[in-house]
Amino acid sequence: MAADRSITRSNRAAARRAFLATSGIYLAFAILVIALAIVSPAFRTPENLINIGRQVAVLGIASFAMAFVIILGEIDLSIGAVASAAGVVCAMALAAGLGPLAIPIGLAVGAGFGLLNGILIVHVAVPSFIATLVSYFIAQGLALTLTTGQTILFAADWFRALFATGTLFGLRSALVWLVIVFAAMWWLLARTRFGAHIYAIGGSQESARMLGLAVDRMKIMVFTLAGALMGLVGMILIARIGNARADGAIGLEFDAIAAVVLGGTALGGGYGSILRTLVGVMLIGVMNNGLAILNIDFNSQQVIKGVLVIVIVLVDRWARNADQK
């Protein structure tokens, strides 16, 4: 154990850096919205703003799941493939006439892959990026094999209404799901013992173990929860377009990581919040929408997001290093 070096207390520079680091994301968000509003009249129509909300439903739920995993000090690269696989299985269940039974089936596929991740990480002691990479490929293989490259059609209007196309209080149901999941995940992380222990484990796994927290069980639970949410995401995806494709949610993990780190959650665990993750999600949503309006194609968006993730993580690391000095 190296000696503690916190003799120098919070000096003014550190406080300023901490303020910049925490408020930077809101500032960036405001600047982006204002800039887009000035540049593009199409952006500032009410329809477009509702449009953005609908687009971020899937990303939002995925990002909340990812935030849990990252605050815990792990990573999940499997979420896009798992959501696709859950969607495909669910669509096949609907097409086979299983009716409402398709919903628990879809959730179970997601939760099953989450459980596999958790068991691999805890009991096989595989680093999470490898464990979830394995799940990624098994889930993708499953989805591709089941669909044999085709689109799976199903006729279940109630299902589509329930997960995407219906409205409640004037909100599309996909957006309602986002609100529900946001509230539940925020509550879970900020207001329950479960959440408090996620932060503790992310802060120091060894300390948490010595303090008597059930570290292994918590990890398996968090990954299973993330997997179940990916089941929900898969169902929203297929409900939105009325069919299922094996690559329905490809690349979702990358956008989710981007949203989470944009929201100021540290890779490595222990810090972050659902509220700030939501801001990160909105930022990605507004950016995607704005870039589309400005006629910047999907590929350029990918490049921009790739650079953005690296830069954000670098800046975050720099701010934390400076803070520790």
Partner: protein, 325 residues
């Protein structure tokens, strides 16, 4: 003392698992070759074997590079996307009228620059390599599609195509020759140079390595640069085999390369890896790819098969080292 512990409970399972882990690449390869030989009339002949290795030259080179990266406890998730991007750069350089040797040199230099960049951001920026290379993956994929407009760029230079694909020197196809030379060089580098030996120490205990006076950061960046070099050569071979620069080529290259290293018994926490065993692992994947095509197995279920093989390998690794942690 240790022998005592071994003789006690679990010692037998652990020894069996260790034996199985060590034999996995050999046993797996023999079993697969035997199986495909019985199942397909076209598998077991010299012509097919030659094609098998030639076709997998890119995979083998990238897997050898990945061995170094995993040895120092890092990962590179960008290789598949970077190979695609490089093949596009190569094809476009030739389409722009550059003579093929210049285009090849340009490609390899670009590859080394990308690898070095991955290394510098990871090491100097102190960011987990899976995030850096995930970002690089998005950037490379995006750029490849932007450069081409999603259309393959044909390579028309006959000399280039012949040299790398149909001409043979001393009866050995050029890709095979490159693989042999690269393999030999890497085996010598890892076993017989100070640089190679230091990598084992860096991977097993980075702080102890640093306190032993090893230039940890420089060595790690060098590993990423060597990885870049191998990726570059792999991309040239890939482009010559396909006869074009295709933005969507090699979708499973990253997984295949990681799978080869894991099947080869490398520790995912760094410090243990072997070129010979990775080569066997890569051949095993190559045989699997080739055999499944010959047997008309759905290409998509290959993902599941490979995922399960990695799963087997990591479980064996865990059983073999149980109690050591």
């Amino acid at each position: 003392m240790n022998a005592d512990a071994d003789a006690m409970d679990g010692g037998r399972t652990r020894r069996a698992a260790r034996l199985l882990r060590d034999l996995l690449p050999y046993l797996g390869l023999i079993l697969l070759v035997a199986y495909f030989s019985l199942a397909s009339d076209f598998f077991f002949n010299a012509r097919n074997f030659e094609r098998l290795v030639t076709d997998s030259a890119t995979l083998i080179l990238v897997a050898l590079g990945m061995t170094l990266v995993i040895l120092v406890a890092e990962i590179d998730l960008s290789v598949g996307a970077v190979v695609a991007l490089l093949s596009v750069i190569l094809a476009q350089a030739m389409a722009a009228g550059l003579p093929w040797p210049v285009a090849v040199l340009l490609t390899v230099l670009a590859a080394m620059a990308i690898g070095t960049l991955n290394g510098v951001i990871t090491v100097i920026g102190q960011i987990p390599s899976f995030i850096v290379t995930l970002g690089m993956m998005a950037i490379a994929t995006g750029l490849a599609f932007i450069f081409t407009g999603a259309i393959s760029v044909p390579i028309l230079d006959e000399t280039f195509l012949d040299l790398f694909y149909s001409v043979s020197l001393l009866g050995v196809p050029v890709p095979l020759m490159i693989v042999v030379v690269a393999f030999a060089a890497l085996v010598v580098m890892l076993g017989r140079t100070a640089f190679g030996r230091e990598l084992f120490a860096i991977g097993a205990n980075i702080e102890a390595a640093r306190l032993s006076g090893i230039a940890v950061r420089r060595n790690k960046i060098a590993v990423f640069a060597v990885m870049g070099l191998l990726v570059g050569v792999g991309a040239v071979l890939s482009a010559s085999r396909l006869g074009s620069g295709a933005p969507g080529s090699s979708p499973s290259l990253t997984l295949d390369a990681i799978a080869a290293v894991i099947i080869g018994g490398a520790s995912l926490f760094g410090g243990r890896a072997s070129m010979v065993r990775t080569l066997l692992g890569a051949l095993l994947i190559a045989v699997l790819n080739n055999g499944m095509v010959l047997l008309n197995v759905n290409v998509d279920s290959q993902f599941i098969v490979k995922g399960l093989i990695i799963l087997l390998a990591v479980v064996l690794e865990r059983l073999a080292s149980a109690g050591g942690r």
